[in-house]
Symmetry: D2
Subunit: 250 residues, 4 copies
């Protein structure tokens, strides 16, 4: 049984900026999917903003174990009904991995219940990611730290709920530190936010980054499935004998 991954890419800057298309000629999503498909346990496909329903139809999502999300320039163009659909699927059990500027994606803010704001600087500075818990599934095979030679800086305060787990924190050459790998559970679904991934740098070509993503996919695959509802368990179905008191507004 493969883990079925859908790699979602906004695919806007790759078509507009030569600096980006030089690095990711088939789009960043293709680079990520290609890396994942080198793992025999994973089968990754792509979906992009410009497709009907942004490539995230009911059927695609029903057959997705883990969705990864990269977006930056066009968050507002993602239709609300698709965001609702993805949100419901995460609560039902689909894993979600959000990269970098996806902190500002509708789906991430909706799941966090937060504004997800942060400080930033685009200087191509060095980022060094430290592993906070080397026993965590997402850190397997990594050294104590790894470096990304050129990245955009993200700084605290990062507007997120306190994470279930902080897996990585980053050191930036310009002087900042950041919680750069954090996990959450939402309903039946597991979430991982991973900070790196700016489009003007070759981050997604880097082996350590690809390893983190593979690990995260395996960690985030569904533990189970649950369709949430708000059923009335009527008086006739009560598990212990009851006498009704008071009136009803229903």
């Amino acid at each position: 049984m493969h883990i079925r991954v859908t790699v979602w890419g906004e695919y806007v800057h790759e078509k507009k900026h030569k600096a980006v298309s030089d690095l990711y000629p088939k789009g960043m999503h293709s680079c990520i999917a290609d890396a994942l498909n080198q793992d025999p346990d994973i089968r990754a496909s792509c979906a992009t903003l410009d497709q009907p329903e942004h490539g995230l139809t009911e059927e695609v999502l029903r057959n997705t174990d883990v969705l990864t999300w990269w977006g930056h320039a066009a968050h507002s163009e993602v239709e609300d009904r698709i965001v609702e659909r993805v949100h419901a699927r995460v609560l039902e059990g689909m894993g979600l991995i959000v990269f970098h500027s996806g902190h500002n994606a509708k789906i991430f803010k909706k799941l966090m219940g937060h504004n997800c704001k942060l400080v930033w600087r685009e200087a191509g500075e060095k980022e060094r990611l430290w592993v906070c818990n080397p026993g965590h599934a997402i850190a397997q095979g990594l050294p104590t730290y790894f470096e990304i030679e050129h990245e955009e800086m993200y700084g605290e305060p990062f507007g997120i709920p306190n994470p279930d787990e902080v897996v990585f924190i980053s050191w930036f050459a310009g002087g900042e530190a950041f919680r750069s790998g954090v996990t959450y559970r939402r309903g039946a679904g597991k979430l991982f936010y991973f900070r790196p991934g700016h489009e003007t740098y070759p981050t997604f070509h880097q082996k350590e980054v690809q390893l983190v993503i593979k690990n995260a996919v395996k960690w985030a695959k569904p533990e189970g499935h649950f369709t949430w509802s708000s059923p009335n368990r009527g008086i006739d179905q009560s598990l212990e004998p009851l006498t009704v008191h008071g009136s009803s507004v229903h």
Copy 2:
């Protein structure tokens, strides 16, 4: 310095159902505010759905330390822009206490990032609330447990993120158990969800319930204030010397 509380009431069922207006002739919000105003450290006012901007103008919220929320019949009538405003104020530091069917309020679901679904039964059965941590601020002055003679039942699964703290869990005569008092921090703001409070029962007249609400108000009062933003910390402002690498999409 008083804690300035705004008690928000939907105020719909009180005008439609005699069973409700008999219990709460001036509305449930008035009952809650009256109870709070017996505490010399608290100054509580009311706001209702039918007022302009639902009584939650920028000025009202700016002068609110803790907002309490009761709604049931008309969640969908709460305007999205007001929900956004309340959400932003919570992240800035305002405390929020949500009662009972407020689990389904737009503001609660937005802050939770979840569907907040649950199982329910309206039979006026006994609810017994157990204190999980008697040292918690919200449990001060309470006995080991207290009973509400007649309440609506809420059952698990309750569609919420795992709470920061579970302060109360409930036992129901009909056979269910429920996490009935849970806390969260979101940004600078503190949240408390309190399960009891069905409109056809005199719950908000009960001393133990009023004590929980007073305690929760004191616990949720702002620790600080922070206006979130996403500033660019430019290269010229970097704290350590930097050489710029790569191109920019900004």
Copy 3:
């Protein structure tokens, strides 16, 4: 690759009380191990208090992926050096599942950093366990709730750190509610405390209980391994150029 489970049993009451030996003639540990060994992915062995080193030698623990723990009458007879050894192995990645009166075991209190106290009553009353998150790995295959016809009651307050996740809460016929299935991560290791399992009732023969234990074993299996240490990263190994300031006490 099987998950290698060591089922630890205190094995005292089974030899002293006919009521217990009638239910568990080969000991409670054998009942648990037999149930686990019906799963083709699991290979379970037993260890007991009366063995040398309580059956938990360095070699046994090195070859244990998940340890389960049941004790009641003889917590104080467990040697501290063995507790230290198990503790270190959990932090290195070994899963740990603690049952019922194991809440009072040295290893559980040590990992919790808490007193783990609770209220109790031995009346053979009905316990009904509710699933708080049906999407959780430990709840897979279970119905919304399941009942244990006769169990000892445990009541709140339960002296534990707020759990990472509350998977089950219990309703008791006598009127109490309890957080009866809770998870924690400690270092590289995952922990699950499961409330049921009193020795005078056939709890471990029950299908739903056995399913919970199997699920918990699969959930708790090591995600990775990490040997903790406190290394000095000397000035000559620093990742960025440094000038030494001040004197040293080392």
Copy 4:
């Protein structure tokens, strides 16, 4: 009502190393207590290792709202019975603030249930502390970040349970990042670990550090008091009618 603080100091290196006594002629504890006593809401006293019962008698602890802890050279000389006493008082409601090398103190490891190991380097390098949640009580009055010109470095992985809240993370000139301000609740007590405070640097003389400690004292003051026990709630005291089933081992 003042907040009654006991500032505990190991007071060993101050007597052995001139570099330390030059900075803290009356001991580090006196420096901390003097700073706290400038706040009209706080009344701080000192206790040291060399006093009978390390200055932490039953009476002293009974009259302590918040205990602060600094130790480094002599953790093993702290008597276990005093550690037990402090531990019990924290669970009962006393706040605890642990500084720097106190990560290795018996009381901190006991409360964490963890080894609390970390990486270190004594080079007097620059530490820059970033505020992760500017709305948190402990961050009030602080700028976005503050710098300590010379500090010992602590690096990840830090062997602690995932914190309830990460208030600060540190950037070090030598290239590391660290979770340097973390909170926990244990029973009725609140804990704050604050990383800085090496004895060969004037850290505790710095205004920002003193402000953090004052804020932490106010945050950690008891919300309530609870004496934990494991009472039997007998069948005759059950809240709902019960018929006894099965035999008893008690």
